[in-house]
């Protein structure tokens, strides 16, 4: 849960702090002396500025990553330029497939 500040949720560069959780509310553990979340095969790093385990690290540790390993393996076989070209071809195909104005629903205008 993100910490509210002045009634607003944190901005994009503000820390989602574990330390601001109320241990009594919802039964979540106090944040002091948090052990590093377990993430298989990866050295967990603390948030670069706050030094805390970030909300992102926590989420990564809890859920399956969903990374398509077959796509990733395929791209790692390519040179950097080939990787960019593949992305560009994909973008161009999307632009070609985009429906013309005559096909648009009136509500889209």
């Amino acid at each position: 849960m993100a910490t509210m500040k002045n009634g607003f949720p944190p901005g994009r560069n503000e820390t989602r702090s574990w330390e601001n959780r109320d241990p009594k509310a919802g039964g979540e553990a106090a944040a002091e002396d948090q052990a590093a979340p377990s993430l298989p095969g990866q050295a967990i790093e603390r948030h670069p500025r706050s030094g805390e385990w970030s909300w992102a690290t926590e989420s990564l540790a809890r859920y399956a990553s969903g990374v398509d390993l077959t796509q990733l393996e395929e791209r790692l076989k390519l040179t950097p330029t080939e990787r960019l070209e593949r992305m560009r071809r994909f973008q161009l195909s999307l632009e070609e497939a985009r429906p013309g104005r005559g096909d648009r629903h009136p509500a889209a205008d």
Binding site: G41, P48, L60, D68, L76, P80, T81, L84, M87, Q91
Partner: protein, 159 residues
């Protein structure tokens, strides 16, 4: 419009601009399957480099993205010096110029562990996976979560 990354890189490298590719294009260069519409670069802030950067992008008529069309803007060393981060539209597509990257720092800190890659025949610095991870953690947007998962996998494979 898909950004013509090749021509932008050629223009920057051809003008000896001190820059490093960051953001989603850097992720793609490292092997990510991410798709992006714009090119993000971090650039050196010394005055000579600002001159070179303005000269490199000038031919492509850069304007501030999202700004009112009548807002006067001229990309030159002075305007670059006055600001830090710029989101621009050019005739080659969108490019974002960052003088500093959250979670990483200035150009000097970005290039400290950047990788050097050969891209479209140009030798270009690309933000490292470790730095990309720090930048994504600092940005903390929901879409960064997906990127972080992929970065973790790419870093695991790079070991």
């Amino acid at each position: 419009m898909a950004t013509d990354i090749q021509r932008l890189i050629e223009a920057l490298a051809g003008n000896q601009v001190d820059f490093a590719i960051i953001g989603a294009v850097a992720l793609v260069l490292h092997g990510s399957s991410r798709v992006t519409q714009d090119l993000d670069i971090c650039y050196g802030r010394d005055s000579d480099n600002l001159e070179r950067l303005a000269a490199a992008l000038g031919p492509f008529k850069p304007t501030l993205r999202g700004a009112p069309p009548d807002l006067p803007f001229r990309l030159d060393a002075r305007s670059l010096y006055s600001g830090l981060n710029f989101t621009l539209t050019t005739t080659l597509g969108d490019i974002n110029l960052l003088g500093e990257v959250s979670g990483v720092g200035s150009y000097a800190q970005v290039v400290a562990d950047a990788e050097v890659m050969e891209i479209y025949g140009q030798t270009v610095r690309v933000m490292s996976l470790a730095a990309l991870e720090r930048a994504k953690l600092a940005a903390g947007r929901l879409k960064d979560l997906a990127d972080l998962a992929e970065i973790a996998e790419l870093r695991r494979r790079a070991r």
